[in-house]
Symmetry: none
Subunit: 223 residues, 2 copies
DNA sequence: AAAAATATGTCAATTAAATGTAAAATATAG
DNA sequence: CTATATTTTACATTTAATTGACATATTTTT
């Protein structure tokens, strides 16, 4: 699902955007200020940002500048939605790094068409990276690194690792793991999981010990 | 120099655009009809297209459709500049594949800012030669060289190589490759990809080994 | 606390599955 | 019609997954 970060201090506009994008199957995350938006951006990847300029606290243009100067986020498309509608306002916004600029009042349908046009051109290939405690999984590229060193995992090992790390601390039974990694109809021997856990631990080296067995139940990532 | 193809039947507007873009160091190629624009596109690569909709002969929307359905040009950004200014006109234009839509009368400065915003996001448009590790692809001329020696690839091999090298390290599934190289409606057997990988590796000689298979997933350029 | 019962760890052999590639069949271009 | 490119087929090769055996660890019972 496409995640849209909305930074807009007017509640009615936030609700309007949220409601209409929701109908188009976008997931919206809304904030009434840029500071919180920035924090969210640190913690969760988003696909596109809708940004108001006149905000309390951190101003929209400052937010834009921070995001564009940060390597990690600089690829995220940004559409400015603002009541500032002079030629110079628009030029400033675009030159500062916005991908498009809509002036208020705006048509929600045009907004949606513009979001789609931008996403069409930048297929959300942003790498979803799960990274905990020195182990990171680039889920787009199937690349796993331990302390920066790439290690090579087989498909089952990879899927298993991903499952465990997506919910650290949570205990999974062998059957849950079989269902998730092997598929529901598979009639594989439960203990096959153990073999894969074993080889996964081995490949992870020292870090492998974070995979704890929970006797009589299954395994969990104690990390 | 960035080449801008302008398709606009009003001479004053063509001149206005041409003059102002010239000052910004763009090269403009202007036509008063879409047919000639299309022929030009066939013969010379352009970086971005400015398109009027109400034209004599081939209409702007038809032009847009032709360009977007043609694999060779579908990546070229298009900004529509039109007097058609209803919400539905704009939505149609964007949904048909335009990257932006300016309504007349328009600000030339905003136009320039928008062109820059679009080009900023598609840097690949500017660099037409991909060159990594002794393998280089001149995407203007469809020429591939390995250590300076030109090699001859078939079209599918060429497209495949280009796809892999545009995103080194990234893993592509066989289906992603099929969609990108063969097109969405193609009903070609997945393993055909393998055959082409094989012949591509062979033609690349020693360097061919950079194409790594990722078991159960697909291929990637490990380069 | 020791012994018995049960569970997990891991190696090595086996089985299964995916990839590599040559060559035949088909399609396309000139 | 011929040459070339593309797709499919078939089989060889490689790689991964699974199982069984036994060692080690943990839990339960006495």
């Amino acid at each position: 699902m496409i995640k849209v970060l909305v930074i807009e201090d007017h509640e009615e506009i936030r609700d309007l955007i949220s409601y209409n994008l929701g109908k188009e199957n976008f997931e919206t995350i809304c904030f009434d200020n840029a500071n919180e938006g920035l924090i969210h951006l640190e913690n969760d990847d988003v696909d596109i940002i809708l940004l108001d300029l006149m905000l309390p606290g951190l101003k929209g243009m400052q937010f834009l500048q921070i995001v564009r100067n940060n390597k990690k986020f600089s690829g995220v498309p940004i559409i400015i939605i603002s009541a500032k509608n002079t030629e110079q306002d628009i030029i400033n916004g675009l030159e500062m790094g916005a991908d498009d600029y809509l002036t208020k009042p705006f048509s929600i349908k045009i907004l949606i068409a513009k979001i789609n046009a931008i996403l069409r051109r930048n297929p959300a290939i942003k790498s979803k990276i799960i990274s905990i405690n020195g182990i990171s999984i680039d889920t787009n590229n199937y690349v796993v690194t331990v302390d920066g060193e790439e290690i090579s995992l087989t498909n089952k090992e990879y899927e298993l690792l991903q499952m465990l790390l997506k919910h650290p601390k949570r205990v999974f039974t062998r059957n849950q793991i079989l269902n998730a990694v092997w598929g529901y109809e598979s009639d594989v021997y439960t203990r096959t999981v153990d073999t894969h856990v074993s080889s996964l631990r081995k490949k992870l080296g020292e870090k492998g010990s974070f995979i704890k067995s929970v006797p009589k139940i299954g395994y969990r990532a104690d990390i």
